[in-house]
């Protein structure tokens, strides 16, 4: 048997190709039964904005990767637009390692991406629901979830903002205790203003005011982020009450100068003001950063912060790789313990040991002339006991590989043939 991974990602294809192979959950539901017929009945498919990947457990070492590619392309009617060569194929340990790297966020376009683990979990859940994730996939994905969880808790791979808009919100969180008790004003309704306002809403900002020269766009953004629209000509008055000011408009002169701030601060009771200028050219007079209790950050500052965070994440990769290697070793150990012949040998040996021990303890109770017969009879009993399980384990053709693996695992656990398995706590 073999594990196979076929997929497309930002490493192998550009966005216009990748997007053609993006599977919604409905499309995944339709595709999984087709993929199941290729292998052993165990398969998982998941799609994120930067990748679509299929994991299949195959019965033998013949790898049906070309068939999988054809199914994926056909299901999305992308013949001619997506070439089989746009997809990659990985097998066995490399496929498992890849899944662990994906779950840990080190294969993502944005290094340390925190969303990916949830998306992998979602894909696995769907396969579980449809019955295509069996005994093997269960184990494989639980280990993948553990890799993702450990990467996030034991390393700093997901630490620090890696986008300008999120960096602004992260800075606000370093100044203010509870954003729910704070008010923010967003000047502008462009893409960056939109993203920053969305992040602020995501952090449950207490009050979110939106203003823009074009009132209609401000209203659209306000509707999206549950904000309140302020007429553009009145936004200055709101500075008395806001704690956070985000400015992202196209202007020829500063919308806020140092003397404006000085004037306002007198009436604000020394309340800290956090200002983010993400406009080009700059919207806010840079001199205001010299005013006490006012924190000003511009695009360059935020880019620098993002760059530093990305560099920090890069240095964490070896730690994540070490975790993955450790988990991969666990998978390999578990997998090799499920080979048929070693299991049968272990079972027979286990029975034989019991027979010998009991015989050694009790042989003197038998007449010397009967001892040979006792030896023979006990051997026959043991052989008969192990006969049925051995036949069952060896006759794997009529049952799926996953079921056979499950049987072997059950026998090992029941008779204590291997050490106790470490159960995962990452199960959904």
């Amino acid at each position: 048997m073999n594990l196979l991974c076929v997929g497309i990602s930002h490493h192998t294809a550009p966005l216009d190709v990748r997007e053609r192979l993006w599977f919604s959950s409905e499309e995944t539901r339709r595709t999984l039964p087709l993929l199941r017929s290729l292998g052993t009945g165990e398969c998982v498919l998941f799609s994120t904005c930067n990748r679509t990947e299929v994991y299949v457990l195959t019965e033998n070492n013949i790898v049906p990767s070309e068939e999988i590619k054809k199914i994926l392309i056909a299901q999305k009617s992308a013949q001619g637009k997506v070439q089989p060569s746009d997809l990659f194929t990985l097998t066995a340990g490399e496929a498992a390692r890849h899944l662990f790297r994906v779950s840990a966020g080190i294969d993502s376009m944005v290094l340390g991406d925190v969303q990916i683990l949830a998306q992998v979990k979602e894909g696995f859940s769907l396969a579980n629901e449809l019955g295509t994730a069996g005994f093997f996939m269960n184990r494989l994905f639980q280990l993948a979830f553990r890799a993702g969880k450990r990467a996030r808790t034991e390393t700093e791979i997901g630490d620090g903002a890696v986008s300008v808009s999120y960096a602004a919100v992260e800075l606000a969180e370093k100044i203010f205790d509870d954003l729910q008790k704070k008010a923010a004003l967003v000047i502008g309704a462009g893409e960056t203003a939109d993203l920053t306002a969305t992040h602020l809403r995501g952090k449950e900002i207490g009050k979110l005011l939106i203003t823009n020269r074009t009132q209609e766009r401000a209203e659209q953004l306000a509707a999206k982020v549950q904000g309140v629209v302020i007429p553009f000509e009145n936004w200055f008055d709101t500075l008395l009450e806001v704690d956070i000011l985000i400015s992202s408009v196209e202007v020829n002169r500063y919308v806020l100068t140092a003397s404006d701030i000085q004037r306002i601060l007198k009436h604000r009771g020394n309340k800290t003001l956090f200002v983010v200028d993400i406009g080009v050219p700059r919207n806010i007079d840079p001199e205001i950063k010299n005013i006490e209790n006012v924190f000003l950050y511009d695009l360059d500052n935020l880019h620098l912060m993002v760059e530093e965070n990305l560099q920090k994440r890069q240095t964490e990769i070896p730690k994540v790789e070490a975790i993955i290697t450790e988990i991969l070793a666990e998978l390999t150990h578990w997998y090799s313990s499920l080979e048929v012949n070693p299991t049968i040998t272990a079972l027979t040996q286990f029975m034989e040991n019991i027979r010998r021990e009991e015989l050694a303890k009790n042989i003197n109770r038998f007449d010397p002339k009967d001892r040979e017969l006792v030896e023979l009879v006990t051997k026959r009993i043991i052989n008969k006991i192990v006969h049925a399980p051995i036949v069952n384990l060896k006759s794997g053709k009529e049952i799926s590989l996953g079921d056979r693996l499950q049987k072997m695992s059950a026998i090992q656990k029941l008779f204590g043939l291997t050490g106790p398995h470490k159960e995962d706590s990452d199960a959904e």
């Binding site: 203010f176 009771g269 309340k271 800290t272 950063k289 006490e292 209790n293 950050y297």
Partner: protein, 271 residues
């Protein structure tokens, strides 16, 4: 035996500060796990040392500046431990416990072993006066430490340098709130210390000198903390200036406890 306690206490505090430092600056997992248990052990050992000292010398260790230093170190550690338990924030320990280490080291180096205590120090009023003053100084120390952390984070954020301070310390608002809580406590405890001190002074000393430098210093410190409380509560003073005042208050208190007490005070030293 008291001598052994004296040698061991700074070592306990050193290992405590070192562990908190390793957890803060080097992110060592073992240090993160070990720091609170080491803090508990240090506090228990310190309490035992204080009890033993009281038994051996037959008076509570508050009769000389260096006895007071060791009690102050213990008070700071206990107060910090309560803050850590309540807030579950363990990042500030390094900065606060360093001060406790300093007080303990100074105490261990210069403390005298004596059973001789002037009779006037055996009054219960004196006990209340000293206890509230010590707790007040512990609160002043903690307020100073939080203000110092606030200023470090403030400057790092203003200078757009996102180093270990930025990463590890709580938010500016949290540090400000903790500072102010400690300032209020310091003000209340100093008020009690001054009140009981005056009552005790009139009973213990026939013709007390109300212009003793120590007394004037204490009143100045009390006024300063009162000013901080009033400006914050009624005028909304916040931010950097308040933190600078809090640190200044701590430094003046330190000066009053050491230099003024040792070299200038006439009645406020008893050894």
């Amino acid at each position: 035996m008291i001598g052994t306690f004296n040698y061991l206490l700074p070592l306990f505090y050193f290992s405590l500060v070192w562990t908190y430092g390793k957890a803060f600056f080097a992110d060592k997992p073992w240090a993160k796990h070990a720091k609170t248990p080491i803090l508990i052990c240090t506090i228990l050992f310190h309490l035992l040392a204080l009890v033993m000292r009281t038994i051996v010398f037959r008076h509570p260790p508050v009769t000389s500046i260096f006895e007071i230093f060791t009690v102050l170190a213990c008070s700071i550690s206990i107060t910090y431990f309560i803050i850590e338990l309540r807030s579950q924030r363990k990042e500030t320990g390094y900065f606060i416990l360093n001060i406790a280490f300093f007080f303990q080291l100074a105490s261990s180096l210069f403390i005298k072993s004596t059973s001789e205590v002037p009779e006037i120090l055996r009054s219960p009023l004196f006990g209340i006066h000293v206890s509230s003053a010590l707790l007040g100084y512990a609160a002043i120390t903690i307020a100073g430490a939080y203000s110092f952390m606030y200023l470090m984070l403030y400057h790092e954020m203003k200078a757009i340098q996102f180093g270990v301070i930025y990463k590890k310390l709580p938010t500016l608002e949290t540090l400000e709130r903790m500072t102010f809580t400690a300032v209020i406590l310091a003000f209340l405890l100093l008020s009690a210390a001054i009140l009981f001190g005056f009552i005790w002074l009139n009973r213990a000393i026939a013709d007390p000198n109300y212009f003793d430098p120590k007394l004037i210093g204490t009143i100045l410190i009390w006024t300063m903390y009162g000013f901080l409380v009033i400006t914050r509560m009624f005028y909304g003073w916040k931010g950097r200036k308040v933190m600078i005042l809090s640190i200044a208050g701590f430094l003046i208190s330190l000066f009053s406890m050491t230099i003024i007490n040792i070299f200038f005070s006439r009645f406020h030293k008893f050894y």
